[in-house]
Structures are given as structure tokens and as C-alpha cells.
């Protein structure tokens, strides 16, 4: 070892050991790291280091000795990956084990022992024994501090984990030490270790072990006092979650069957507590322990378990989703699955259950029976359901005891016409349980000759007739729902278990479809039947049931398809469409069938509405198109290679328009056109590029022929609008064969006043790769018109380019800004033009649902709004200051307000210092014109966002007075309640700004508020009361009233 290394090393040692305050903990850590590095790199051997440290390890100065030992211990922790010689380890471990007796330097000794003991292979068993012995002789764990206790527990854990043989030889003593160490522990982190220790200990010793048997009661007494885990100081929960602790305790409880005589009585006692959380915990523990202790040990507790369980389920509150009941049912299931027969017998022989079942015939109507009875019925239904679904044997037993009685009860009393509700309910619960049982075990082949199966077969017919009766003859929801559920379950049993024959199955379906067609007035029944049908259909589809599939096709699907085209007008058309589309969602085959029919119906109703404007056809067409848009197109998006449907739909519509020349024009038609455009956009958007090209060509053709011989104005409108819709929805990669012609068409229709053409223009420039010349041409072409339509077109074009991140957008923005800055309007026309230029910033900044969004395949660069914000802001803000023409000023503020209110708040906050005066100026100017009220409101919202944001505080304080003066005026803004309300809220926020700054303005604010207290709108008054209270408490207690 070189001298320099030694000196260096000694310096580090001194730094670490130095206990005076001159060295910061960080420095000491760094020197420790440095030493560790030296040792790791073999610059210095461990032996020579120990020799170097000699004095520090043995000195009589307690503090220095503690630091020295800790240094060595921490060092060993850090070099845990470095192999050491056996002799070194032996002498080190001897040293640390002996030091455990030195309570003044205990921390280091514990850390050192732990570091060495964790080197599993390197420690001889005699060394391990030495550590264990020293630990047992010297340490009183509970008298130590929290961190030391934790280290002790870790050391014990390490002993059990790595040196089981050593621990085994010490049996009694070791268990005793653990009992002593964990008794009375309160720290959550240490408790977690403690619980784990007990669990490990129990796994280590065999169940027959003497020491564990004799200590089991003591150990459990210590553990049991922690149950149920409950934090008196909720803060402690931060480190260790309650659930985590509770789980660790549960594992400890269940770790050995030896705990059973103590734990089960304790848990049962806690289960009877009135605290809901303790009930839930007990049930959870019981479920887990039942599995671990085994049926033999649980046998003696079964009776008391059953009575507690029953109590818990019966008394639990059914109304909200109940944790007690659900945990209890899990326990019930575990108990039944574990032992064969004993527990089920308890249920079968239970007096309460039998009494209730026998008195079921007293419930004529569900709603008439008193609440406790209803609850009792629900509870018994749940118990029987879970018990039957638990195993084949329990299912058989329950069917044997109860089922025939229940079915007889169903049909006993024909005089009252309706089946008894209680019997109906329990029967359906049992059926559901059977189905779960069969579905759960589909890999194990069960015998179809199980008792329950045979019984179900024999009673099936009378069950079905009772269910049907309950649907038909009752108006109570609970009745009909049970009936529907029963039929649905019977119809969807898997193949070999199915109790219903093909013809019965068909009868059920016929029953259902007749209700769909005839009983649409009963909404809840109708929709539950529709749901059941889709469930049955999906089940058949999933299980590929070749027997039932044809029946379902013929009875349900074909009938549904017929519904659409039938003229029968008793059933509302919207319900027809709803039921048809729901059935279509089952599988592709049905969907294709239905789509075909839908297309046909759409075309017919479009036809009718075009020709004579028949309002019923218009309504039908709109319902159909909306269904297409909401359900069918999204469904097909999840299916590969299926864009043919959307393509066909789009082409079909174009075909029809091409063939039709007569168009009726009414107000309702306008809505129809909008719906058609929407559906067209979304249909085209889902198509592949090639198909889009096909549709585009077709629409182009129709459009061109229309331009040649303009037949009628309304038809022209349809063609142009739908053509625009196609353009709006294109993919960026779709090939447009004649972009120039397309562009010309768009511009022409734009200048004729079609707004959708502006959207299409924006989408065109957003997606279609176009050279700068085309952009420039379009730009200069549009500028020449200098009318409002052209400006709108330019705005959307700008939005398209901006979103795409195209450089040319700067030209457009420059044009807009120049227009606003250089013009001072002379006449109304110019004012209108300037307003639409100002509004163009709103168009560019805001999100649109008509076009240029994700669903319509737009190219969107992130942060495009910030980009526009940072381009426009400096120019506008410097120009506004110089202005004196009021109209121009107002227009610039309008543009500025658009940009600010649509920009992300974080961007605005960054510039708040410059923006606040401008915004206030803008608020004042915008409030002069009623037309500006929405923009004013948006701008005010941004201001309130700044006021309530922490980062804005400095600017607010600086401008407090002008802000308050401006808002004070808005409190009386006559044209919009929301503006007044928000203004009052802003004032409330201002009251939180530094007291010294806002106090002087208090009289002014209170004066403004006294007017707001008399506002015509209630919500403003209420805000004003709150605000007044806030300002009143800004100062002394008394308010001058």
C-alpha cells in the first residue's frame, strides 16, 4: 500500500469519525464512499484498514468508538459484493457479535452483524450460532429506539432465512427471544417485520414441533392484540399502508394450524362487533385461515361459523354495494368447497332458511312485503346462489332439498294468476348458480346425469311457463326482470347441459321478439329483453352452438331485419333502429345483413325526403344516419379490412344524388343535410386511401356534371356540401388526381358563401402536399375578393397550414396583422371585414368539430397554439399601445382576446407581466359592445385563471389597483350573467392577495359589491355575499353596515 493512499484513507476515517459539528453528514457520507471505493479496488486491504482504525474501534470514548464501529459496519454493507477471506470474516463477525453487548455502540454492531450475516455462504454455522447467542444474551429489543429495533428484527429475519439449521438447534430459546422481542411493538414498519418473523418461524418449525406448540398460545396472544389493524394516528399510514400491515398480519395468523384454537374464536368474536370495518377484516381473515388450517381443524368451528356468517349476511345493509356481505359470501364459498357435505348440511337444516322458504308463498307482491322480509329474501337468495355455485356436490344437495318445493310453490296457487315472487326469485338465483358452475368448469367434463341436471330437465317446462307468465301478467319491474333473467339463463346453458330442447328454445326467442315488437311502451322490460337477446346471441356465437344458431338467425335476426323495411308504424322507428343495431353488434354476419338493409332504408327515406320533403321520411333518414355514425362505423373500425362498408355507403349516397334531380328545400332538410354531411365525413375518414380516391373521383364527377348543367339550387347545395365533406375527411396520403381543379371548385363555392367549403379548403392545405406556388396563388387569388367569405376561407386555410407547421402560414398571419394595424375603417363594410379578420385568429386558435381534428385524419403538430401565440403577441401588443382610432383598437383587442383565451394558460402565465395591462385594457374596450360578450367572457376567464394561479401572484400584486378598478366595472356588466358572476369571483380571489396591497381599495370593492348584492340574478347575488364576507375579513372584524 502506497503511503499516499494510507494518508488519504486516514483522512477519510478521521472525517467520518469526527463527531463535532464541523463536518456535515454529506461530507461524512462522501468519505465513507471514498473508503469503500479504495477497498473495492484493492487499493487497501480490509485487514490493514482495521489495523489503521484500531484505536477508534476500541477507545473508551463512547462517542468515537460508536462512530468507529459504525464506519466499519457501514463499509461492510457497501462492499457486500466483494468476496472476503474466511479468516477475515470469522474475526470480524466475532468482533461484531461480541460488540452487541456494548449498548453505547450498538448501532454499528447491529449493522455490522447484519452486513456479514447476509453473506450467506461465507458464514460458518458456529459463527452464526455465536451471533444468535450474543443477541439472545445481550439485547432487550423493546428497550431500543425505533431504528435499532428495526435492525434487530432484520437480523432475526436474516437468521431464520439464511441459517435455519442454527435456529433449529436452539428451538425453545429462540422462540422465546422472538416472543420477547415483538411483544408490545407499535411502530408500523417494525410491525410489518414482526408479523413476517412470526410467519417465517411457523414455516420453519414443523407443526409437531414441541417448542412451537408450547409457545403457540403466547405468540398468538401477542399477535392477536393487533387485530383488527387500526391506526389511531392516521399520519402513520404514510409509511406503511394499513392494507399492507393487515395482509402481513393475516399471513402470520394463517402461518400455522397451531394457531387455530386461539385465532378462530378471536375472529368470531370480532365478527360479532358492531364496527363494520372489523367485520370485514374478520371475514377476510377467516376466509384465508380456513384454507390454510384445513378441513380437519375447521370441523369443530363450522357450526359457530355458520351462525356468525348468517348473522353477518342477514343484518348487512343491502342497499349499497356491501363489503361485509361480499366477504361473507367468499368465506361461505371457501367453507363449502373445502369440506364435503358437512357445511352444506348446516345450511340445508338451518331453521331460519327453511322457515323463510316455507313461508315464501306469503309474498304475493315484491313491493308489498315489508323491508326486513325483502332483505331476508335477498340474503337467502345470495346464500343459496353462492352455495350452489361452489361445487357440484353442494349444488346437487341444495337442488334435492329445495328445488322441487320451490317449483311447486311457483305454480301452486293458480287462483292468484301470478307466480309467487319469492319462489320466482330464489329459482332464478339457483338457475344462475348452475350456469356459473357449468361455465366455470368447462375444461373438466362433468356428468350430465348430476342430480341437479336431471331435476332441472324435469321441471324445465313448468319453470318456463311460470317465467313467461310473470313477464306477461305483471307490471312490477322486479317480477318481469326476474322472469326475463330466468328465461335468458335457460336459453344460454352450454350444449350438453342445456335443459331446454330446440323447440323450447325457439319458443323463448319467439316470446322475446313478440315483446320487442309489441310491448315497447314498457321501457325497462323492453330494454332488458333486448339486452338478454344480445347476450344469448353473443353466447351462441362464442360457443359456436350449431344447433341453436339457425334458430336464432331465423327467429331473431331475420325478423329484426324485416322490421326495418316493414311499414307497420305502431312501433317507433327509433326503437326499431336501436334494436336492429344492437343485434348487429353480436357478430359480423349479422352486422353485414343489417347494414345491407340499413343502406336500403336510408336510400329510400332520403329519396322520399328529397322528392317531397316528407317530414316523416326526413326524421327516419336522420335516425338511420345517426345510428350509422354512432354505432355502425365505430364498430367496423375494430374489424380488420372492413372499410368496404363505409366505402359502399359513401358511394351509394353519391349514386343516389347523381340519379336524382328533383330536390325539395325546407328548413328540416337543412338539418338532414348536416346529419348526412357528418355521417359522410366519418364514413370517408375510416376508408383506406385507395377507397378514398374512388369516392373522391365519384364525387368529383357528380360535382362537375352539376356545374355544367345546374339543375336546381337545393341539389347544388347538397352536392357541394357533400363534396366538401369528402375533402374534409381525406387521409394526408390520399392521391388527389387533379388538385388544381379541386381547388378551383372549392374557391368558387367558397365565394358563393358555402362555409363548409372554407373547412374543406383548410383541410386541403392541412393534408395535401402542395408546393408554395399553389399556396401563394390561392392566397393572392382570395385576397383580391376582399369580402367576408374570402376572409373566412383564408382563416381556415391559415388554420390548416398552422396545424401542419407550414412556414407559409406566416404570410397569412402577416396579412391579417397588417390588415388590422394599417387600416382605419371609413365605412361599415370595412368594419365588417376587419371584424372577420380579427375573428380569424379565433378560428385559427380554437378546436373545431367540423374539420381539422383527429377523427378526420388531420396533420396536427404539437404546440401549434403556442406558436401562433408567440408570433402574434409581440406585434399586436406593441401596435395596440400606439393606436388612437377607437374602432381599430377594438378590433385589435378582439383579435388579441381570441389569441389569449385559446392559448394554454401556462403560456399566458409566462407573459403575464406584459399581458395583464393589455388584457385589462381589452376587457374595458370589449365591454362597450354587446356583440363582444362571449369574447369578453372568455378573456375574463383567463384573467380569473391567472388570479387563482400561484405563479401569477407577483404580477397581480403589482397591478392590483388597475385589476380591481377594471373588475369593479365588470361587476355591473348588463349583458351577461356569467361575466358578472366571474367578475365577483375574481374579486374574491383578489381578497387573498397581500393585505397591505389591497386594503386601500376595500371601500371601492364594497361599493361595487353592494350593487352586486342587488343583482337581478341569484347566482351573482350569492357570489357577492361570499365575496363580501371575504373582503370583510380582510380587515378588522366589523363591517361598516
Amino acid at each position: 500500500m502506497g503511503d499516499s493512499t494510507t494518508i488519504n484513507c486516514v483522512k477519510h476515517i478521521e472525517t467520518y469519525v469526527d463527531s463535532s459539528s464541523s463536518k456535515s453528514p454529506a461530507e461524512q457520507d462522501a468519505s465513507l464512499d471514498a473508503i469503500a471505493k479504495l477497498v473495492m479496488n484493492d487499493m487497501i486491504t480490509l485487514e490493514s484498514l482495521v489495523r489503521e482504525m484500531g484505536m477508534y474501534l476500541t477507545t473508551t470514548d463512547n462517542i468515537i468508538r460508536a462512530r468507529g464501529i459504525l464506519l466499519l459496519a457501514e463499509l461492510l454493507t457497501r462492499i457486500s459484493s466483494k468476496p472476503l477471506e474466511n479468516a477475515t470474516i470469522h474475526s470480524l463477525i466475532g468482533f461484531f457479535a461480541e460488540r452487541l453487548s456494548d449498548w453505547r455502540a450498538l448501532r454499528g454492531a447491529l449493522v455490522g452483524c447484519l452486513a456479514l450475516m447476509r453473506r450467506k455462504g461465507d458464514i460458518s454455522s458456529s459463527d452464526a450460532t455465536a451471533v444468535a447467542q450474543s443477541f439472545m444474551q445481550n439485547l432487550q429489543v423493546q428497550s431500543l429506539g425505533q431504528h435499532d429495533r428495526k435492525l434487530c428484527f432484520e437480523l432475526l429475519e436474516c437468521l431464520i432465512d439464511c441459517y435455519p439449521n442454527t435456529v433449529m438447534t436452539m428451538e425453545d430459546d429462540f422462540v422465546y427471544v422472538i416472543c420477547e422481542a415483538i411483544d408490545g411493538e407499535k411502530d408500523p414498519q417494525c410491525l410489518l417485520l414482526t408479523f413476517h418473523l412470526v410467519e417465517m418461524l411457523s414455516h420453519l418449525y414443523p407443526d409437531s414441533s414441541n417448542s412451537l406448540t408450547s409457545y403457540a398460545e403466547d405468540l398468538f396472544n401477542i399477535l392477536g392484540s393487533y387485530f383488527p389493524i387500526h391506526f389511531t394516528h392516521p399520519k402513520g399510514e404514510d409509511d406503511v399502508k394499513r392494507e399492507e400491515l393487515s395482509r402481513a398480519l393475516m399471513l402470520a395468523f394463517a402461518s400455522t394450524p397451531l394457531f387455530e384454537p386461539f385465532s378462530i374464536p378471536l375472529l368470531l368474536e370480532k365478527l360479532s362487533s358492531s364496527l363494520p370495518s372489523s367485520k370485514v377484516e374478520s371475514l377476510k381473515y377467516l376466509s384465508y385461515c380456513t384454507l390454510k388450517y384445513g378441513p380437519h381443524r375447521m370441523l369443530q368451528h363450522l357450526e359457530s361459523l355458520w351462525s356468525s356468517l348468517k348473522e353477518a349476511i342477514f343484518t348487512s345493509d343491502q342497499s349499497n354495494s356491501n363489503k361485509i356481505a361480499s366477504e361473507a359470501l367468499v368465506l361461505l364459498q371457501n367453507l363449502i368447497q373445502q369440506d364435503n357435505g358437512v357445511f352444506v348440511n348446516l345450511i340445508l337444516k338451518d331453521a331460519d332458511i327453511n322457515l323463510t322458504l316455507n313461508s315464501l308463498s306469503n309474498y304475493n307482491n315484491h313491493d308489498d312485503s315489508p323491508m326486513p322480509d325483502q332483505q331476508r329474501l335477498n340474503s337467502i337468495g345470495q346464500i343459496l346462489h353462492v352455495s350452489s355455485a361452489a361445487s357440484m356436490a353442494s349444488c346437487n344437495a341444495i337442488f334435492q332439498s329445495f328445488f322441487s318445493g320451490l317449483v311447486n310453490g311457483l305454480e301452486k296457487d293458480y287462483a292468484s294468476e301470478k307466480p309467487k315472487f319469492g319462489c320466482l326469485y330464489i329459482c332464478v338465483e339457483l338457475l344462475a348458480a348452475c350456469r356459473i358452475l357449468v361455465m366455470k368448469n368447462d375444461e373438466v367434463s362433468y356428468n350430465e346425469n348430476e342430480t341437479w341436471c336431471i331435476m332441472l330437465h324435469s321441471f324445465c317446462d313448468s319453470l318456463i311457463s311460470s317465467f313467461v307468465k310473470s313477464i306477461k301478467e305483471s307490471n312490477e319491474d322486479s317480477y318481469t326482470q326476474s322472469g326475463v333473467r330466468g328465461l335468458k339463463i335457460l336459453a344460454s346453458f352450454p350444449g350438453s347441459f342445456s335443459p331446454v330442447s330446440k323447440s323450447t328454445f325457439e319458443n323463448i326467442l319467439r316470446e322475446f321478439i313478440s315483446i320487442i315488437i309489441l310491448k315497447f311502451n314498457n321501457t325497462s322490460l323492453w330494454s332488458s329483453i333486448l339486452d338478454s337477446l344480445t347476450e344469448i346471441g353473443s353466447f351462441i356465437e362464442k360457443s359456436q352452438d350449431s344447433e341453436k344458431m339457425p334458430s336464432f338467425d331465423a327467429i331473431i335476426v331475420d325478423k329484426m331485419v324485416d322490421l326495418l323495411s316493414s311499414d307497420d308504424s305502431t312501433m317507433p322507428f327509433s326503437l326499431k333502429v336501436k334494436s336492429v343495431s344492437e343485434i348487429g353488434l353480436i357478430n359480423l354476419k349479422y352486422m353485414m345483413k343489417i347494414v345491407q338493409e340499413l343502406n336500403k332504408t336510408i336510400i329510400t327515406s332520403l329519396h322520399k325526403s328529397w322528392i317531397d320533403g316528407d317530414s316523416k321520411s326526413v326524421e327516419h333518414a336522420m335516425i338511420l344516419l345517426e345510428c350509422y355514425d354512432d354505432k355502425i362505423l365505430p364498430w367496423f373500425q375494430n374489424i380488420k379490412d372492413s372499410d368496404d362498408v363505409a366505402t359502399n355507403f359513401a358511394l351509394k349516397i353519391w349514386d343516389e344524388i347523381e340519379d336524382n334531380t328533383l330536390f325539395y328545400d325546407t328548413l328540416v332538410e337543412k338539418k338532414l343535410l348536416e346529419t348526412t354531411m357528418n355521417t359522410m365525413k366519418h364514413a370517408v375518414a375510416t376508408c383506406s386511401e385507395e377507397n378514398q380516391t374512388k369516392i373522391l373521383e365519384k364525387s368529383f364527377k357528380v360535382n362537375e356534371s352539376n356545374l355544367v348543367n345546374k339543375v336546381s339550387q337545393p341539389r347544388n347545395k347538397w352536392i357541394i356540401s357533400l363534396f366538401n365533406s369528402v375533402i374534409i375527411a381525406l387521409h394526408p396520403k390520399t392521391n388527389i388526381k387533379n388538385p388544381k381543379k379541386t381547388l378551383e371548385t372549392l374557391i368558387e363555392s367558397l365565394t358563393n358563401g358555402h362555409t363548409s367549403s372554407a373547412h374543406a379548403l383548410g383541410s386541403f392545405f392541412n393534408k395535401i402536399p402542395s408546393n408554395e406556388a399553389i399556396i401563394d396563388n390561392t392566397f393572392s387569388h382570395l385576397i383580391k375578393f376582399s369580402n367576408v367569405n374570402a376572409i373566412i376561407g383564408l382563416s381556415w386555410m391559415g388554420k390548416g397550414l398552422l396545424m401542419r407547421g407550414h412556414e407559409k402560414v406566416k404570410d397569412l398571419i402577416k396579412f391579417f396583422l397588417d390588415f388590422l394595424i394599417l387600416n382605419s375603417p371609413q365605412d361599415q363594410e370595412m368594419v365588417d371585414l376587419m371584424r372577420s379578420v380579427a375573428d380569424s385568429f379565433g378560428i385559427m386558435m380554437s378546436d373545431s368539430e367540423f374539420c381539422l381534428n383527429k377523427r378526420l385524419n388531420s396533420v396536427i403538430k404539437p404546440l401549434y397554439k403556442q406558436r401562433l401565440f408567440s408570433i402574434v403577441m409581440p406585434i399586436l401588443s406593441s401596435s395596440i399601445v400606439k393606436l388612437d382610432s377607437p374602432v381599430t383598437r377594438s378590433m385589435q383587442h378582439r383579435a388579441l382576446a381570441h389569441v389569449i383565451s385559446n392559448a394554454p394558460l401556462s403560456a399566458v402565465l409566462g407573459e403575464a407581466k406584459k399581458l395583464i395591462p393589455l388584457m385589462l385594457d381589452g376587457l374595458t374596450i370589449l365591454s362597450e359592445d354587446v356583440e363582444n360578450r362571449d369574447i369578453l367572457y372568455n378573456l375574463l376567464l383567463v384573467l380569473s385563471g391567472i388570479l387563482t394561479n400561484k405563479n401569477g401572484e407577483e404580477v397581480i400584486v403589482e397591478n392590483a389597483y388597475i385589476i380591481i378598478r377594471c373588475i369593479n366595472k365588470l361587476v355591473a356588466y348588463p349583458h351577461m350573467m356569467l361575466v358578472r358572476e366571474t367578475a365577483v369571483q375574481c374579486l374574491t380571489a383578489m381578497s387573498e392577495v397581500s393585505y397591505a396591497r389591497v386594503y386601500p381599495f376595500r371601500p371601492e370593492v364594497l361599493q361595487a359589491l353592494s350593487r352586486a348584492l342587488d343583482d337581478p340574478k341569484r347566482s351573482v347575488r350569492q357570489e357577492a355575499v361570499r365575496c363580501r364576507q371575504a373582503w370583510a375579513s380582510v380587515s378588522s372584524r366589523s363591517l361598516h353596515i
Partner: protein, 156 residues
Amino acid sequence: MAPALINANPVVYEKKERPVRSRPGDGNFDEYATELIDQLEIFDHIRDIKDPEHPYSLEELKVITEDAIEVDDKRSYVRVTFTPTVEHCSMATVIGLCLRVKLMRSLPSRFKVAPGTHATEDAVNKQLNDKERVAAALENPNLVDMVDECLTPSYE
């Protein structure tokens, strides 16, 4: 020792649900229509005032009810009749003062607030309707503290 409570064990009633009023965007919202100040609005102002003795609101103790409020917005007139939990309640003046202060803080200045009945009605009303006495009472820091404590909103 703290003085004994006047009513140590009052009956506590459930709070009434707050109804939803129409907001902009509801379809038939009229920007310029005037919404008159009604019973419920007055009640909203005072329902959360805490009883001087208990951590319950006056609404929960049924000291005030919606029906016991008379209001006429056009004539700028409000009358709140309150029923203390026990007869001859010496806290009646404090409750009345709280009501009065809260309403003065919450209503437009054109309103005249008239508190209503109770067993020692005349005496209480005399105190509460005397403007100078109210003003004087509010000069008393202890009383103001008590009033402010009662008025601290509990729903925010």
C-alpha cells in the same frame, strides 16, 4: 367552571336537500329576466348559521324554517320568524343578532330586516329593532366574536 348550557340536549333534524336552479345553457335561460329574491334564497343565507351553543346549524335545530320567512322583494321587506330550541331562551338575542347581521351583510341595502317571534318576543324585538342598540352591540368585541363564530360558513 363553565356556565351550564341553556339547552344541553337539543333535538337535531336532518338538513334539507338543496334544489338545483337553472343556469345558462339550460335552454330556456333568459339573460335579462330578473330573478326575485325569494324565501329559499333568504333561507340559504341563514341556514348555515351555527347555534351559539351547539355545533349544529340553525336549520338542523329547526330554529328557522323556510316557511317562517316572509319576503317581498318589490317592497324590500323581509321578516324572519325564528323559534329558539327552548322557551325563554336567553340565547334568543344572540341568535337574533346573528340573523340580523347575516341578513344585513347579505341583502341589498334597500332591505329592512324585521326579526320575529318568541316567548319574550317584545323584549327581544325591542332590542333587535333598535338600530342604535344593534350598532352598540357590534361595538362589543366579545359579542362580535360570538356573532362571527356563528356566521363562519360551514359549507365551504
